[in-house]
């Protein structure tokens, strides 16, 4: 039992038939080879599988692939082309906010969604937004720095 879908991922149109029970995470990883989307807790708690669907952060492990119909999806691979970094990726690297890296893709995409919604978030807003993510390596301090730095970079880019 499957569904025909057409949707956009990182700017590219795809038309596929997917099994109904397939999750978005497995569609991206297994069928489109976009393995930057990691699966961690598989219970929509850790945020490692976060991707942007129509600009909104969703847990790909807890979203059916068929919900992607007509959607515009952005994964970590879609943020930058080879050799370049987007401002949020740059900020994470500079701030030392990446240790094992397993949570990074989901975190970076989620921060994009935050900064689009609120270009200069205060500390409380950042902490509340990042409640959707678990990082077991960094203790979060460097990640908070990265978000503040990313906000400045995006602000500069816009200026």
């Amino acid at each position: 039992m499957s569904t025909q879908l057409s949707f956009r991922v990182n700017g590219t149109m795809h038309c596929l038939t997917v099994a109904n029970e397939l999750t978005l995470a497995d569609l991206l990883r297994d069928q489109l080879s976009l393995t930057g989307c990691k699966v961690g807790c598989d219970q929509a708690v850790c945020g490692a599988c976060t991707v942007l669907v129509d600009g909104r952060p969703v847990a790909a492990c807890a979203t059916f692939a068929f919900m992607a119909e007509a959607a515009d999806i952005v994964t970590i691979e879609g943020l930058s082309s080879t050799g370049r970094l987007d401002p949020v990726q740059q900020a994470f690297l500079e701030a030392g906010a990446i240790q094992c890296g397993y949570c990074t893709a989901g975190m970076v995409l989620s921060v994009h969604a935050l900064l689009r919604r609120c270009s200069d978030p205060d500390d409380a807003t950042i902490r509340a937004w990042l409640e959707a993510h678990v990082c077991r390596c960094t203790g979060y301090a460097a990640i908070l720095d990265a978000v503040r730095l990313a906000a400045r970079y995006l602000h500069q880019e816009a200026a």
């Binding site: 976009l34 393995t35 930057g36 989307c37 990691k38 699966v39 961690g40 807790c41 598989d42 219970q43 708690v45 850790c46 490692a48 994964t75 970590i76 691979e77 943020l79 930058s80 080879t82 050799g83 370049r84 970094l85 990726q89 740059q90 994470f92 690297l93 500079e94 030392g96 990446i98 240790q99 094992c100 890296g101 397993y102 949570c103 990074t104 893709a105 970076v108 950042i126 902490r127 509340a128 990042l130 409640e131 993510h133 678990v134 990082c135 077991r136 390596c137 960094t138 203790g139 979060y140 301090a141 460097a142 990640i143 908070l144 400045r152 970079y153 500069q156």
Partner: protein, 766 residues
């Protein structure tokens, strides 16, 4: 703030292994896929303790797409199907009985995961339940059944002077370690006061976001594995032993690891995956579900009873410690944890006498294994809590009490061991300054300090390194330290670059596989930058020596006249670029200098652990809290954590290690715990198992990277990875007592528990 535009930008500004993590290109064990790969799933015991009376796999085997179904019978022809560190009691797969909820009963290999799940459901197991032993107390009761009826393979780890160790001394006790010096009884008898207190430490899970994943493939009698494990050479040795293979028939590949913290140390699923692949005659991927990983390994819960004496001048005299660790069902790294807990119980202080005994009790719970700080976390919690309680009892300021009793730099931790290589007083003073201790605490707040301590670098540890440098000065460094996020690869590359005199971005870290990488004993005990660092430094010096020798043959000068500077040789006033010189002589595809380095800390029977410790890892912590008297809720306003890197090769990575460890420890201190409801895990899923997240952070949280320059590593560096775990729980509990008088002696500091302690303090006051 310096200008954003002036900072390095773009992918090329960062080492590839880091920028790949930001761009999603990193390949983790989770991502590894081989052609023709089949998928494994495991059937696990729903009982805490039971005989396996029969397993019917016929329905599972009959399913389309099922390649193999394995049970304990499939290990009968293996030479030694057990693993563990020291004592080996964990079977590759259960044979006659199961010993905890989650124990492995059967393994399925199928064309895809769904089929493997369905086949697992179709296996019928007949269990005969046995009494569950859910606590050390239950396991030690006279009527408790013995969890094992055969002695374990292997042997308890050997120890040195002043220590004893014994394997399986009595029913349901896996091992026992004692440590001591001086005359404890006499010292206590002479003390002005003696205090006895018991402390409880909880069980937590590593919660690394990447679950355990392994892929195995056989070619004839050779097996290759892609494993998430932190200790590839340990695994190689175990698989060779278990399957009766020559070492070089086993090759471990280590992709990037999505978090470990000790949960991916030593054997976990590797032998079973190898067996599954051999039985299925195809490559097999076993990816544990996250919940399975939670049931694989934990930090040891413990009860520590400390009897401590102090003299009239406020100096510590002696401590007797009785420590019971909950080892869970199988040994894993319990033998070493017992030793480390018993050994470290004195903390960073000077004693006339110490007498400690640590025992690991076997229970029908998730096995206790290696977890960042192991032993040091338990010991530091109890010791630093009691130190504070004693100081308050004596009417001495806890800060001053610590200062009065610290070991001095150079002073041995114990007879026969190495000297303290941090300035303990200076470290505490720096952290105190950061938390604003010069000023009185704001009203209603309490402040607490704690100084945790553990040894680091391992026991008699060794490591090797190979450095290959091209004629253009591009270097590739090969060593077995696994980068689990701690930045070890980067630090080691920097050490190589510094020693060679070239830019850091000219050195890359090689992929790890046990055929090509020089060996070490595993990525744990914070040994990477100090032990392997010394081997790397030696390898780089070997390359320098070869370059100088080459220049001498080319220029006919004396070796002393050659100064290597960047990728040039300066002789007198002439600067000779190296590349053209090397190219001209060697031709062809060009030349590579290959340098070797090795380090081994000798065994020393006169040292308590059988080898002097490489370095010491203090953790200076300070916390400031308020407590809601009516609810018991603790608000942590400020937390400062400091550690000594000796010399910080990468300051930001050091901060990251301290902070990450501190938040893991804070999580355990405040609420994190793997709980059982009777015999069944109560909260072993991500939704229920709460770990610290951003809204839980203190308002002001900072780390201090001290550089006391007394380490033995290159440029006086030393290990720092585990330090941040050690002082946190005690600092917070000490702050709670400072604020309210409530005396907490067990984790976690839930509002309910704090409220009970507040009520008790109030009724004591009446």
């Amino acid at each position: 703030m310096d200008g954003i535009d002036s900072r390095p930008h773009g992918v090329a500004a960062f080492p590839a292994y880091l920028s790949d993590k930001a761009t999603g290109r990193t390949v983790y064990a989770f991502d590894v896929a081989l052609p023709g790969m089949l998928h494994g799933k495991l059937l696990r015991s729903p009982h805490a303790h039971a005989w396996i009376r029969g397993i019917d796999t016929s329905a599972a085997l009959a399913m389309a797409g099922v390649a193999a179904v394995l049970t304990g019978r499939d290990t009968a022809d293996l030479p030694d199907p057990f693993y563990g560190v020291g004592l080996r009691d964990q079977p590759v797969i259960c044979t006659d009985r199961v010993r905890y909820v989650g124990d492995t009963v059967a393994a399925v290999v199928a064309c895809d995961e769904r089929t493997a799940f369905a086949a697992a459901e179709a296996i019928v197991v007949e269990y005969e339940p046995l009494p569950a032993l859910m606590t050390p107390e239950a396991a030690l009761a006279p009527e408790a059944p013995a969890l094992f009826d055969h002695p374990a393979g292997g042997a308890m780890l050997a120890v040195g002077a002043g220590s004893t160790s014994a394997g399986e001394p009595e029913k349901n006790v896996l091992c026992e370690y004692t440590f001591g010096y001086g005359d404890v009884a006499a010292a206590l008898a002479e003390s002005a006061a003696v205090y006895t207190d018991s402390f409880g430490f909880t069980r937590i899970n590593h919660f690394h976001l990447e679950p355990h994943v392994n892929v195995a493939r056989w070619t004839g009698d050779r097996v290759e594995m892609w494993s998430c494990n932190q200790d590839p050479f340990v695994i190689r040795g175990d698989i060779a032993r278990i399957f009766g293979l020559p070492l070089h028939n086993v090759c471990l590949h280590t992709p990037a690891v999505g978090g470990g913290f000790g949960g991916k140390s030593y054997c976990k699923m590797e032998p079973l995956v190898a067996l599954m692949a051999r039985r299925a005659d195809a490559p097999v991927r076993l990816g544990l579900t996250f919940d399975e990983s939670v049931l694989t390994s934990t930090k040891h819960a413990a009860i520590l009873t400390l009897t401590t004496g102090v003299d009239a001048a406020g100096r510590l005299t002696a401590r007797r410690a009785e420590i019971v660790l909950d080892g869970g069902a199988y040994a894993d790294a319990s033998c070493t944890t017992a030793i480390k807990t018993g050994f470290r119980i004195g903390g960073p202080y000077r004693w006339r006498a110490i007498g400690s005994r640590a025992r690991v009790v076997r229970t029908t719970c998730v096995p206790g294994g290696s977890f960042r700080g192991f032993g040091g976390t338990q010991a530091s919690w109890a010791s630093e809590r009691q130190i504070d309680m004693i100081a308050r009892s004596r009417g001495i300021d806890p800060y001053d009490f610590r200062m009065r009793n610290f070991l001095a730099p150079g002073e041995p931790f114990a007879p026969g061991d190495s000297g303290m290589d941090s300035d303990l007083g200076a470290g505490l003073a720096e952290v105190a300054e950061q938390i604003g201790a010069a000023l009185p605490c704001p009203p209603g707040r309490g402040r607490g300090f704690a100084v945790g301590l553990k040894d680091a670098g391992g026991t008699g540890n060794h490591a090797q390194a190979i450095l290959k440098v091209t004629q253009g000065g591009e270097a590739i460094l090969s060593a077995a330290v696994v980068d689990i996020g701690q930045g070890a690869a980067g630090a080691l590359c920097r050490i190589a670059a510094e020693t060679l005199g070239i830019a850091p971005d000219q050195v890359v870290y090689a992929r790890i596989d046990t055929d090509h990488t020089p060996p070490d004993n595993g990525t744990h005990v914070s040994c990477g930058t100090v032990v392997t660092g010394l081997a790397v430094e030696q390898a780089a010096r070997d390359v320098r020596r070869q370059i100088v020798e080459f220049v001498v043959t080319q220029l006919g000068c004396a070796p002393e006249a050659v100064v290597l500077d960047g990728w040039t040789a300066r002789v007198g006033n002439h600067v000779h670029p190296l590349e053209p010189m090397i190219r001209a002589w060697y031709g062809g595809i060009g030349w590579e200098f290959i340098g070797r380095g090795a380090f081994k800390e000798p065994y020393d029977a006169a040292a308590p652990l059988r080898s002097k410790n490489m370095c010491w890892m203090p953790c200076w912590s300070a916390a400031e809290v308020t407590v809601d008297r009516e609810t018991g809720k603790v608000t942590l306003h400020r937390l400062v954590v400091g550690a000594d890197a000796g010399r910080a090769v990468d300051a930001r990575a050091c901060h990251g290690q301290i902070e990450g460890a501190a938040i893991q420890a804070l999580s355990q201190a405040m609420f994190e715990e793997l709980r059982y409801d009777g015999a069944v895990p109560e909260n072993a899923t991500p939704r229920l198992y709460r770990v610290m997240q951003t809204p839980d952070l203190p308002e002001d949280f900072r780390s201090v990277v001290a550089e006391h320059r007394m380490g033995r590593g290159p440029g006086q560096l030393k290990g720092i990875g585990e330090a941040g775990m050690l002082g946190i729980a005690a600092a917070v509990a000490n702050a709670i007592q400072d604020a309210t008088g409530a005396c907490l002696t067990s984790l976690p500091f839930t509002p309910e528990k704090v409220l009970a302690a507040l009520d008790a303090a109030d009724s004591r006051a009446e």
